[in-house]
């Protein structure tokens, strides 16, 4: 099965995506990840203002059957969380790259973003 991989985004091997705009980065999980999880029913979002380091647990996404941790692809300070997911976590299944974003970070070091995979490299995984 082929999954949607968007050009212009950065990716991790653990199936998170990053969209950098200025110094802010929106983070979510990829189409492949939502397909694997299926039926996302609960998202535990972090608190705005929290500092987070690359590789640390950013939030938790739960399906009926499983609990999956989403890791911070880059370090930074959380400036926004997608509160719509509190009531409608299934948005992630429907729109993983747009309405289903998880967290927005004020990125500490933009160079860190460049170390992530581009769309071509992610597709090859």
């Amino acid at each position: 099965m082929t999954h949607d991989v968007r050009d212009g985004l950065k990716y991790t091997k653990t199936h998170e995506w990053v969209k950098l705009t200025g110094s802010k980065a929106k983070i979510g999980i990829t189409d492949h990840a939502q397909e694997e999880l299926t039926d996302i029913v609960f998202v535990e979002l972090p608190t705005v203002g929290k500092e987070i380091k690359k590789g640390e647990e950013l939030c938790v996404v739960e399906s009926v059957k499983s609990v999956s941790e989403v890791y911070a692809p880059v370090s930074g300070k959380i400036v926004a969380v997608n509160t719509k997911l509190d009531d409608s976590p299934e948005i992630i299944n429907k729109s993983p790259y747009d309405d289903g974003w998880l967290v927005e970070l004020e990125v500490k070091d933009k160079a860190e973003v460049n170390t992530l995979l581009d769309a071509t490299a992610y597709k090859k995984l």
């Binding site: 039926d39 609960f42 535990e44 739960e62």
Partner: protein, 374 residues
Amino acid sequence: MVLRSPLYKNQVKLSAKFTEFAGFEMPIQYSSIREEHFAVRRKVGLFDVSHMSNVWITGSDAAKLISLTTVEDTSRVENGKSQYTVILRENGTIIDDTIFMHLGEKFMMIPNAGMNQIVTKWLNEQAKNYHLKAKVEDVSHEYVILAIQGPKSKETLQKTTDVNLDSVKFFDCQIVKVAGVECILSHTGYTGELGFELQITPTRKASVVFDALLSAGEEYGIQPIGLGARDTLRLEKAFMLAGNEFEGGRTPLEATLGWTIFWDHEFIGKEALLKQKEQGTYQRMTCLECVEKGIPRHKCEIQKDGIVVGNVTSGTLSPCLNIGIAMGYVAPDKREVGNILDIMVRDKPLKVKVIKPPFVPKDWAQKHEEIATR
């Protein structure tokens, strides 16, 4: 080694996603757990549960052996009836829960997945120890087990069999032909819905039955169902899953399966149960419903005012109720219906309320048609 159901190819064709469970590679889902869950609650679903075990118990003392090794007084189980019971160790803890079918001179027992060798060995040992004329034979690999469940299961199955299903009562079992194939039919299930289970041998004939049931159910919206929805369906009805609810050694009294115990006969583990009953201080299986957002999971601690009072054995999001639900063992003085407890999820307390089982009552889905499958 990973075992596969003889229906593996049929399942691949239906785009199943697979998971390993008790040494078997079985479908976890076909479409989505939620969709499959509602198909069973509202229409009809077909399960392959061939990972479950099949054991024949034969010989003139077959009934005596079952009475000795389970809490059931087998003399009261008539020919043509199925019975749910538990097999105990000497210390009263559950080896396995099972259904056995009284089929004339023989009994067929259905232990859980991966329990075939353990149960067969245990029963044969007891037959020897107590000088009983009974033979216990593991025939799990010779059978495919199908379950057809849901309000339209009867109509669906009726189209494929000559036996009048109106005459088949709950927990009846008999040999019938389904789609021309001889099966053991029992009016049983693990979903809390109207349903039937079929034991089919030889396994190469199972594909015909599987396909015939899927075609017969098409007009009712039948769906193949994976183990994911099987788990949410049983959990909403507070049915036990042996690997979870009996983990670490639990007695039927702790598991609130006291109703299965027939005290007026001798059985292995009876003494231990009598002692435990007298003491009365044991933890008991308790149903907990979340009063805030979150999903309790297997092994989470249960607390009251910061003190551990039990642990969760099964937890999920209830597709019907759209809230977290859990089963777990709780101290006897903390499990009054309505009591508020905390389940520790990722070190944070999640507020839950003790409820009287089941979580989802009979016909709930028919009365709540507005709830979308999503």
